[in-house]
């Protein structure tokens, strides 16, 4: 077909005009009904989500969306430290009944789901206790949730049996209306009871986990497998634009029930974090979340003012921040004028784990102790992490109750003489006869490689030779699961802020494929763990923690390293941002001030 020049000119002109129209009409800058400009928070996603079905997601990228589109029955207090649970979809914390095991959950009235085609007339209906029971059952359904059930396993009466039944029946034959959970009872439309197997201070944590966000049965049934792409929640935002590998846009749920916390510390008040106390949330009209996987372009965008908030990696930190004379981390003068910086300790323990089933390192305690004496963790934090972290003395990170802040305990510090002595005691004086030991790492990036070089140099000073096996995270996990390793560079982030979640990492029955990848089996330790597991925090429990820490120090199934200090930058006009490690994506609390302009 031949197109004449005349027609080409017309087509080109039309395209140009329509293109210009597209450029001039910026939907982000449209004014709202009251004449004000919408508050648009620009942030990013560093990875594409796996699934937006709460029960099927267990990754940070999915939780970033799920936690803002859905709500949980309980939630973490945004400002309080140490972290504590507060009511979410329930109007008050669950009430304990006379038997000491049953709790009544009472839902807020008037909470409605987002408008969606799955509902009658496409209007979101009110949340009821049937939704909560349905969600708990769905969370326990072995056909739906394969990853995170262990968070509640053994807690609720009859729930484990229910899960077994779903496993036997399969997805097609499972019908929640016919499968009873003895510990779950509907009382009325707004309340239900949960009976736990024992008194358990950990019992409520699963109810704040994003995987147990309350979902409506209608949406699950209407969308089937596509429910993962069509979330319908009660959350502060709904998905305005869905693009897994592009830009996701969350828009404000104007019917949201929540309010900004009205209590906080004096520091919170001084930092202006209580300026919006008690006000209806969310404050933001939209949250824009483009996928930017590489840290460098993300930082460039932040520096250009195109995104409001960003985490800082080691190189960014070296360039932009420093420690002042008092040892406080501050931004350089150049960046302090433009941005604000926050720091917040992580809920994380990093360590080197020995495989106690390995014939060399597993059967030689003195050798493991030589490793522990040889390493200078403080120096490693200074050099490799710009000092952004704290050496651990116990396995519990500092912000969690039961950490070294609560128990008087000393861990290994570098002592070359003792390291050499222990090496000789292990049968390898000066390292003679000791084979090269392999450390497995979970990535092959520059920082990991340099971490290894640091460790290698420290160990070489006492005569221990090591080599590294750098691999992808999935290859690393396979290797760990196979139990075929000598030492691994490992870490654990808190599922919930309790010491139990860290001490279970060395509990005998949790050995591989469980989280005890050291395969540590110590009868005394296991007894102490079992005794402390369901205790309330307090001196009695902390005493048991200390005894367990002493065993860990003596037996060295792992060498404790550090808990990181999280750093991030925000534009000057960002309000209410207090880094909360249990509320990773707190968009519903954030606000934007007038000063500073972020382009779109």
């Amino acid at each position: 077909m031949v197109i004449s020049r005349k027609w080409l000119t017309i087509l080109a002109t039309t395209a140009l005009v329509s293109g210009l129209g597209g450029c001039t009409k910026n939907k982000d800058s449209e004014t709202k009904a009251d004449g004000s400009k919408p508050k648009i928070f620009n942030y990013l996603r560093t990875a594409a989500h796996k699934s937006l079905d709460p029960a099927k997601q267990f990754d940070a990228a999915s939780a970033q969306i799920v936690s803002n589109v859905y709500d949980t029955l309980l939630q973490y207090d945004y400002l309080a430290r140490p972290y504590k649970l507060v009511p979410g979809l329930v109007e008050k914390m669950p009430e304990k009944q006379k038997d000491g095991l049953t709790y009544i959950f009472t839902l807020r009235k008037g909470v409605v789901f987002h408008d969606d085609e799955c509902f009658k007339d496409k209007k979101g209906r009110e949340l009821t206790s049937d939704d909560a029971i349905y969600t708990i059952k769905r969370f326990a359904d072995a056909n739906v949730n394969v990853k995170s059930y262990m968070l509640i396993a053994g807690f609720v009466e009859g729930l484990d049996a229910f899960r077994e039944q779903t496993k036997k029946l399969g997805i097609k034959k499972t019908d929640y209306t016919k499968l009873d959970v003895t510990g779950l009872r509907k009382i009325d439309n707004y309340s239900f009871s949960v009976k736990f197997n024992r008194e358990n201070p950990l019992a409520f944590f699963p109810f704040a986990f994003s995987g147990m966000s309350i979902v409506p049965k209608e949406a699950v049934e209407k969308y089937g497998d596509d429910f993962a792409k069509n979330p319908v929640g009660t959350g502060p935002f709904y998905i305005k634009e869905y693009s897994r590998r592009g830009k996701m846009i969350l828009a404000k749920n104007t019917k949201y029930f929540g309010t900004y916390p009205s209590e906080g510390s004096a520091e919170d008040k001084a930092a202006g974090l209580l300026a919006d106390s008690g006000k209806k949330i969310p404050f933001l009209d939209e949250v824009h979340l483009p996928l930017i996987e590489e840290p460098q372009p993300a930082m460039l965008k932040f520096l250009k003012g195109e995104i409001h908030w960003i985490g800082m990696n080691k190189d960014d930190f070296s360039r932009m921040a420093e420690k002042d004379k008092a040892g406080k981390f501050i931004l350089n003068a150049e960046y302090a004028k433009k941005f604000n910086m926050y720091t917040e300790p992580g809920l994380y323990a990093g360590f080197l784990r020995f495989n106690l089933n390995n014939q060399l390192v597993g059967k030689n305690k003195a050798l493991r102790q030589a490793f522990a004496y040889a390493l200078n963790t403080g120096k490693w934090i200074e050099l490799m992490r710009n000092g952004r972290g704290k050496a651990l003395k116990t396995i519990v990170p500092h912000p969690i109750a039961g950490s070294e802040n609560d128990i008087d305990f000393e861990y290994y510090t570098q002592n070359i003489e003792m390291a050499k002595k222990k090496l000789a005691e292990a049968g390898y004086p000066g390292g003679k006869g000791l084979p090269v030991i392999t450390i497995d790492y979970r990535s092959s990036n520059k920082d990991t490689r340099q971490d290894f070089e640091f460790v290698r140099n420290e160990l070489a000073a006492v005569g221990i030779k090591v080599k590294a096996n750098f691999q992808t995270f999935s290859a690393f996990l396979k290797r760990v699961e196979s139990g075929n390793f000598q030492i691994i560079d490992a870490a654990w982030g808190a599922d919930f802020p309790d010491g139990e979640n860290f001490y279970q990492l060395l509990y005998g029955p949790n050995k591989i494929p469980g989280p005890n990848s050291s395969n540590f089996a110590n009868k005394k330790y296991d007894e102490l763990y079992e005794k402390s597991r369901f205790m309330e925090n307090g001196q009695e429990r902390f005493k048991l923690f200390k005894e367990m820490s002493e065993i860990v120090k003596e037996e060295v199934p792992l060498i404790l390293r550090y808990n990181y200090l999280g750093f991030g930058l925000m534009q000057k006009n960002v309000r209410n941002l207090k880094r909360n490690m249990m509320v990773e994506d707190p968009y519903k609390y954030l606000n934007l001030g007038p000063e500073g302009k972020v382009s779109h």
Binding site: K314, D315, D316, S318, R319, L383, S443, S444, N445, K446, R449, Q450, E453, F454, R456, N457, A460, K467, A468, N469, F470
Partner: protein, 294 residues
């Protein structure tokens, strides 16, 4: 034998091909300089293997010291206070070893398969052509990465991976040359005299096309060194901090914090070797290609 030399053309009558090539190769100052540079790099490699290079793991100063006028710190220090110069020297050993090893693997494969395909033709040619077409259809870096993941990391698996994937260009060249040569009079004459095919390939045609392999070897060395740097940068190559790729990978973050000397040092070392290999490669072509006359 009497040698007659004319000034105008630099031709020496009665001179052997090898001598003629050597004379042409060394006739230019720039080529001689480049040959000397390569010799220095090779010498550094040999010194590395006999343990005469300084240990790059030794700490010679503080973290990230800029260049200063002492030998160890002339190119500054890295994050651990190790000498950048010593790291570059150790990286030289790695680079040259990889270049030579890869060439040693790829050139024989390329020449061997190219000669067989070109001389015998028919189904054998079809099979070899199909084989290299399949290999070349997979992106080079991805193929090497896949082989490295299977074989494990480390210098020798990287060399093997690069060696078995980088022979195709030479194989095509040699195949084409053999196809041309097998119908020439001198080959016909030898056939009529009853010579067997392997002898014809090895004794008669190969000497006439081997210059292509020599030129290709110089370029293959260069390409292998570059590939190692890229693979290490991508996290697949040498991982123990003693390669140029590792140094460049480390330097990406350092550069943004104003620490320029590790990158500058390694880039210069790499540039000088690449440049020298390129010049020598061109000079080899000029010296060995019979189509290029004085």
């Amino acid at each position: 034998m009497q040698k007659v030399q004319t000034k105008k053309t630099n031709v020496i009558f009665g001179e052997s091909i090898g001598k003629k090539a050597f004379r042409k190769l060394t006739s230019k100052t720039s080529t001689n300089v480049c040959l000397t540079i390569i010799a220095i790099y090779v010498l550094i490699t040999i010194l590395g293997y006999v343990g005469l290079l300084p240990d790059f793991q030794t700490r010679v100063g503080g973290s990230y010291e800029p260049p200063s006028l002492t030998i160890a710190k002339i190119l500054g220090t890295d994050i651990f206070g190790r000498s950048i110069l010593y790291k570059i020297l150790t990286g030289t050993k790695t680079a040259i070893t990889i270049g030579l090893l890869v060439t040693a693997i790829s050139v024989p494969i390329g020449v061997g398969l190219g000669a067989i395909a070109g001389y015998y033709g028919g189904k054998l040619d079809g099979a070899i052509t199909w084989f290299y077409s399949v290999i070349i259809s997979v992106p080079y870096i991805l193929l090497i990465m896949a082989i490295s993941w299977v074989m494990g990391k480390g210098m020798f698996s990287i060399c093997f991976a690069m060696g078995i994937t980088s022979w195709i260009g030479l194989c095509r060249l040699i195949r084409g040359e053999f196809m041309k040569h097998k119908n020439r009079e001198y080959v016909m004459a030898i056939k009529l005299m009853g010579a067997k095919s392997p002898l014809i390939i090895y004794k008669h045609i190969l000497p006439n096309v081997i210059h292509l392999a020599i030129i290709s070897a110089s370029l293959s060395t260069l390409s292998a060194i570059k590939s190692e740097v890229i693979l290490t940068y991508l996290g697949v190559g040498i991982q123990d901090g003693s390669s140029w790729g590792t140094m460049i990978s480390d330097a990406t973050g350092e550069l943004s914090t104003g620490i320029w000397w590790p990158l500058v040092g390694v880039t210069i070392a790499m540039f000088v070797l690449m440049y020298a290999l390129n010049i020598v490669g061109d000079a080899l072509r000029d010296a060995l290609d019979p189509k290029i006359v004085d």
